[in-house]
């Protein structure tokens, strides 16, 4: 881990890029979780999450 102590704002573009990747990764992980519980159509998954899908307002049968 390099510690950028000096010139804190000089490489704003690099900083933005360094932050964007982990943030977008976390976002994709969230999308995958919601897709898994709310949208996957495999019967067993649907039945397990059935009440939750109705109660959150996800489209269900």
């Amino acid at each position: 881990m390099s510690n950028a102590t000096s010139l804190p704002r000089s490489s704003a573009a690099g900083l933005v890029q360094a932050r964007a990747l982990p943030i977008v990764s976390a976002m994709l992980l969230g999308v995958m979780l919601i897709a898994g519980t709310g949208f996957v159509s495999i019967s067993a998954v649907h039945n397990a999450a059935h009440d939750q899908r109705h109660a959150i307002g996800f489209p269900c049968h």
Binding site: R19, A20, P22, I23, V24, S25, A26, M27, L29, G30, V31, M32, L33, I34, G36, T37, G38, F39, S41, S43, A44, H46, N47, A48, A49, H50, D51, Q52, R53, H54, A55, I56, G57, F58, P59, C60, H61
Partner: protein, 232 residues
């Protein structure tokens, strides 16, 4: 990696707590209505089966032999698991989106983000696709899922443009984006709902209020916890 780890860690705590709150509220709000609607649904299915092969070929759900949790503790347990996983998923979205704007500073700011989440994931989709209790036949599930996701995405982008856009043009685009899915219209069912109107209406109210409390909890908690992990 610090940012990713911090977001996931806070989202896990927030999602767990919000999922527990959601499950508790559902037990009083939506669950009794789901059970009541299922009785109607089963009566209807039994009646349909009594008439030989009136059963539509497209009637896909409740496939024979597919596993489903037994009523009672097992069913409750899977609902709890699903609620927590969704809670973590929504918390990841809220935290990562707010991180793009520098990260949440307080519970109050988090609460505002939570209200935006409520507007995006509960209000906007339910305008065209009201939350349905079991027994309400809708349009094909895939069509409704596509409309649901597109509406949530358009509303999220629209709200972001309103909050952070600089020009009047951005605001106009935002309003158009938020309105567009409703002008296009959600896929509509071909047959009227089989459950009583007041039950269907009560379900919409219960889901909306439950969703509001869920998002308020999720947002405020995310805002309260995020500053404790702000070294990223």
């Amino acid at each position: 990696m610090h940012i990713f780890r911090n977001i996931v860690f806070v989202a896990a705590i927030v999602g767990l707590a919000a999922g527990l709150v959601l499950t508790a509220i559902q037990q009083f709000g939506t669950q009794p209505l789901i059970v009541k609607a299922e009785v109607v649904e089963q009566q209807r299915e039994a009646a349909a089966e009594a008439q030989p092969h009136e059963h539509a070929a497209g009637d896909h759900h409740h496939e024979e032999g597919a596993w489903e949790p037994a009523d009672g503790a097992e069913r409750f347990g899977w609902t709890l698991v699903a609620n927590i996983l969704s809670g973590v998923g929504f918390a990841l979205l809220l935290l990562s989106a707010s991180e793009l704007k520098g990260g949440l500073k307080s519970w109050r700011e988090g609460l505002l983000w939570g209200l935006a989440g409520f507007a995006v994931f509960t209000l906007a989709p339910s305008v065209g696709l009201p939350p349905q209790a079991p027994g309400v036949e809708g349009a094909p599930v895939l069509d409704r899922q596509i409309w649901w996701v597109a509406t949530a995405a358009a509303t999220a982008i629209g709200l972001a443009l309103i909050a952070y856009g600089r020009s009047p043009l951005a605001a106009v685009a935002a309003v158009a984006l938020i309105a567009a899915p409703h002008i296009i219209g959600a896929p509509q069912p071909t047959e009227p709902p089989a459950i009583p109107h007041d039950l269907a209406h009560g379900f919409v109210v219960a889901v909306t209020v439950t969703g509001f409390l869920f998002w308020a909890t999720l947002g405020a908690l995310a805002g309260a916890l995020r500053p404790r992990f702000s070294d990223a």
